[in-house]
């Protein structure tokens, strides 16, 4: 048994930092694929259209919804960090972080409704 076996529960901002890190990692993994796909647009774009027909599958749309969430939550969470680090301190950071997560989910959901 280790001393820390009964370690305290993580706080909300620990989760916020984790979400920020994992969403950033997810976006970093996606970016090369994003760039490779866009490079299909050379010449008349026929190959890109071929990809778009493949991407019409609902499963792909779900994946895209996930990506919109990752981008939105990384953007909003990042803004929160920039404000915390560069402006006069404001309380309620846990609430703001939760709001960022909620807003990102809402945005992703609106995207899903539009494309599905």
């Amino acid at each position: 048994m280790s001393v820390g076996a009964l370690s305290r529960r993580r706080n909300a901002l620990w989760y916020a930092a984790l979400v920020h890190r994992l969403s950033g990692l997810g976006l970093a993994v996606f970016l090369p694929l994003h760039f490779l796909t866009l490079a299909l647009a050379v010449e008349d774009g026929a190959r890109l259209d071929g990809f778009f027909r493949f991407a019409d599958m609902p499963a792909v749309k779900l994946g895209e919804t996930g990506l919109v969430f990752l981008l939105a939550v990384h953007f909003l969470g990042g803004l929160r960090i920039l404000f915390v680090e560069n402006f006069t301190w404001r309380g309620n950071q846990a609430k703001l972080a939760s709001a960022a997560g909620g807003l990102a989910m809402l945005l992703a959901f609106v995207f899903l409704i539009r494309v599905l």
């Binding site: 048994m1 001393v3 901002l13 620990w14 680090e85 301190w89």
Partner: protein, 244 residues
């Protein structure tokens, strides 16, 4: 049962070094009892070999911090009634520091990082100079005042997840101290200090989890202090005053 009519407390206390284990003791419950009272009772009445640290008993010296029911706390100002789960109490040594024995940790890494962060006042005047008046309503003095009541208890250091996964990280207390000195207009060691806290384990390693603020018994906000250091060091770097 005790005269107060309350059932005894079941207290698990860490015994041994890093590879030790929790041992459970039965301690009479009393009114207005602090966690430090409980630990003291165990040592005085049940097992005199129990090691722990305390001095002032009134929340000034910062030597009695322990892990109580999974949270780092100053035990002399922590009432059992506020933290006990049922009649159970678990008391361990602070996390993120080497265990010497039982509830006593080796605080050396904590204080060495205090030195590494240049948490020492560097005088700019001699004893022959007149005392420099510092107006309490200046912005810099107010920023320093906001963080100056640290009692070096190590609670924030034990609560910090960044300390846990980055052993080089100077930690909230040392950086908070550096921030108070960075706002001391009498200090002559500013550039060296900013250089010290801008290194690999310095203020930029902070993830703003705010566990330090959440746990600080003095209700300080080391995260805000560290954010201040991030700004100061970034500006100093852009001005070419410090190096990466």
């Amino acid at each position: 049962m005790t005269p107060s009519g309350k059932p005894d407390l079941s207290v698990s206390i860490w015994r041994g070094g890093a590879d030790g284990a929790y041992r459970t003791y039965s301690v009479p419950s009393r009114d207005s009892q602090t966690v430090l009272d409980v630990v003291t009772y165990v040592q005085r009445h049940l097992d005199p070999t129990l090691s722990y640290r305390f001095a002032c008993r009134v929340g000034m010296c910062g030597s009695c911090a322990m892990t109580v029911n999974g949270r780092p706390r100053w035990t002399c100002r922590t009432h059992v009634s506020r933290v006990a789960k049922g009649d159970k109490l678990t008391v361990g040594p602070l996390e993120n520091l080497p265990v010497v024995k039982d509830l006593a940790t080796d605080m050396r890494p904590f204080f060495e990082k205090w030195q590494d962060a240049k948490g020492v006042f560097e005088p700019s005047k001699t004893r022959d100079d007149a005392i420099e008046p510092i107006r309490p309503d200046t912005r810099q003095r107010q920023l320093a005042d906001a963080g100056v009541e640290c009692i070096n208890c190590g609670v924030c250091y034990a609560a910090c997840d960044t300390v846990k996964w980055n052993t080089d990280y100077l930690g909230p207390a040392a950086l908070n101290r550096a921030w108070t000195l960075a706002n001391d207009v009498r200090d002559a060691g500013q550039t060296e200090r900013l250089q010290a806290v801008a290194s690999g384990g310095g203020c930029h390693a902070c993830h703003s989890h705010q566990s330090c603020q959440e746990h600080c018994p003095q209700t300080l906000n080391p995260t805000a202090s560290i954010a201040g250091l991030k700004r100061l060091t970034a500006l100093a770097y852009l001005r070419g005053e410090i190096e990466a």
